[in-house]
């Protein structure tokens, strides 16, 4: 167990926030939509509010729980989009290596990579307006070439293996081989990359909400909590500290979990060598 320390610490951190998000669906300590000016800007531990309250008297802990839901939902769906489109594209490109389709898919990937993720997000939200859905689409589009490239590269090396030759001799089509033999061999890799993209997605969502391009009020999101706290940071630092810690701990947890999984799946990588 100790050998997979990263995996355990990461899983505990990530699960804690996942749990907070799920619990927030039916219970939060206080109502996040309720404005209570009499109790505004309470310091943490000053009162019944564990993490204090914001300038509207809303409970920070409750907002962080609901914010976890926003972040996790956006990042998770964005990774889903990336996998849903990226993996089949990568498999198709690898099955016809060097063909027109392969070339087309890889050139399109290069094209998407020419747009820094944030630029895609800015363009999409500029056109369709800021919302959580558009943040998902923006982050998702950026994830597609990431998964396509990874899948293609790994699939190409699996195609060289003897058991694939056997499957071809048995008369299986490229599509069947891709689905029945290639894909199962890529699952570990995809899960690890999925974890990494998930954590990047949480950071991206936070950044987009911070500049006002993500989830819109009244939906609490960590990025917007930070943006709102900025003018009050000198007299109410707790407003900036808690959402920030929430982001750091979630991302850290997912990254450790991803690293741990990679070590777990691939014993050849000695611990800490990479």
């Amino acid at each position: 167990m100790l050998r997979h320390r990263n995996l355990v610490i990461g899983a505990v951190l990530a699960l804690a926030f996942l749990l907070a998000a799920v619990v927030s669906l039916f219970w939060t300590p206080f109502d996040v939509a309720e404005i209570d000016i009499a109790n505004k800007l309470k310091k943490p531990g000053d009162s019944i509010y564990l993490f204090g309250t914001d300038h509207f008297g809303r409970d920070i802990l409750s907002m962080i729980m609901v914010g976890a839901r926003t972040s996790i939902a956006v990042a998770l769906v964005a990774v889903g989009i990336g996998m849903l489109f990226g993996v089949p594209l990568g498999l198709a490109a690898a099955s016809r290596h060097g063909g027109v389709l392969d070339e087309l898919i890889m050139r399109t990937n290069d094209l998407v990579f020419a747009f820094p993720a944030l630029l895609i997000a800015v363009m999409i939200t500029a056109v369709f307006g800021p919302s959580a859905i558009n943040a998902i689409i923006a982050i998702g589009i950026f994830n597609i070439p990431v998964f396509a490239r990874l899948t293609r590269g790994a699939a190409l090396s699996v195609w060289q293996r003897d058991f694939i030759l056997a499957a071809r001799v048995a008369g299986k089509t490229a599509t069947r081989i891709s689905l029945e033999h290639i894909l199962p061999n890529l699952l570990n890799l995809l899960i690890v990359q999925g974890t990494i993209q998930f954590s990047l997605g949480i950071l991206a969502e936070a950044g987009l909400s911070y500049v006002g391009l993500g989830a819109q009020p009244p939906t609490p999101s960590w990025g917007r909590m930070l943006a709102e706290s900025q003018t009050m940071i000198s007299f109410a630092p707790h407003l900036a500290l808690f959402p920030g810690f929430a982001i750091v701990l979630t991302v850290l947890g997912l990254n450790l979990f991803g690293d741990g999984l990679r070590d777990y799946f691939d014993p050849r990588i000695r611990r800490g060598s990479r």
């Binding site: 500049v211 930070l226 750091v248 991302v251 060598s273």
Partner: protein, 314 residues
């Protein structure tokens, strides 16, 4: 070699061409008519029509695309709808903040990451290695805009070493400008330095395990000589690729960081252009950033091929 460069140049041109069409089409579907936006709610329909004609908004889409793209190529970016000044001038005014900021951050990130990665790799498993890797794990998890807010609170509000935001202009002196960009550059550099230190460490560890390193040691070179003359040079190849890639992250990341520090750079210009329906400004800035990314990627590819001939055949 020449053939490789030519091939890459053709693909660079193709990427830029397709990217420009995408940018044009995406920005064209932006809701809201720039002409009516500029004239306000009470404008007469005839006035709006006249202004649309003047701005060239009535021409067909292909005509407008070719006018825009041929302007870009010749350095004429058009006239801003809102400010009635040449877009090229506006971009130039902003770029003197955004570009130095990205370069400053890149330099900082390299200066932090190289020694950190080298120390971690050469003293693998030591307390120094463990703490450098721990810090880098934390560095990639911290959102740079939050780190920026903490920097402002500590170094601008409490210690008063730096200003909390804004840019005094280069004309007030090089060091004043540099000082205003220091906190933003540190905030931008932190996650990049963490990634770079990890790449540096793993690349150097790989190289240190190679046969030629053992040969160098066997012929009597000291550990230090082997490291500097042989291992480091070879370990740098993947590191340089990452540095090239990071440039685009830094340019894009600047969009958010400029907001934290109220820096009037390209990122703020994009936001301003979007909210004022200043299509031509948004189009041109986005295209310029894409151009920068594609060109840097091209240069890295070429540098890579120069360093490693095996890659040219791909």
């Amino acid at each position: 070699m020449l053939r490789y460069i030519l091939k890459r140049l053709v693909s660079l041109a193709m990427t830029l061409l397709v990217a420009s069409i995408i940018v044009f089409l995406v920005i064209e579907v932006l809701p809201g008519d720039p002409a009516s936006y500029m004239l306000g709610l009470n404008a007469q329909p005839e006035t709006v029509m006249a202004l649309r004609e003047e701005l060239g908004l009535n021409a067909s889409k292909p005509v407008r695309y070719f006018t825009w793209i041929s302007g870009l190529v010749t350095g004429d970016f058009g006239i801003s709808y809102t400010y009635r000044t040449p877009v090229a001038e506006m971009i130039a005014d902003r770029a003197v903040i955004s570009l130095p900021l990205a370069v400053y951050a890149l330099v900082l990130s390299t200066l932090i990451a190289f020694p950190a990665g080298i120390i971690a790799a050469t003293r693998r498993g030591s307390a120094a290695d463990v703490s450098i890797m721990g810090f880098s794990q934390l560095g990639v998890a911290i959102p740079n805009f939050w780190f920026a807010m903490i920097l402002v609170t500590v170094f601008a509000i409490n210690l008063r070493w730096f200003s909390a935001g804004g840019f005094p202009g280069w004309e007030t002196g090089f060091f004043n400008g540099l000082k205003a960009l220091t906190l933003p550059a540190i905030a931008l550099a932190l996650p990049q330095a963490s990634i770079l230190a990890r790449v540096m460490r793993s690349s150097l560890l790989d190289t240190l395990g190679e046969d030629f390193v053992r040969s160098a040691r066997a012929k009597g070179l000291s550990v230090r000589q082997t490291l500097w003359r042989h291992a480091l040079r070879n370990a740098l190849i993947p590191v340089l690729t990452i540095i090239g890639l990071q440039f685009s992250f830094l340019l894009a990341g600047a969009i958010i960081i400029e907001n934290v520090f109220f820096l009037p750079g390209l990122g703020r210009l994009i936001f301003q252009g979007i909210s004022q329906r200043d299509l031509i400004v948004v189009e041109s800035v986005v295209m310029l950033l894409v151009f920068a990314v594609v060109v840097v990627t091209f240069l890295v590819d070429v540098a890579y091929a120069v360093a490693d001939p095996r890659l040219r055949s791909r």
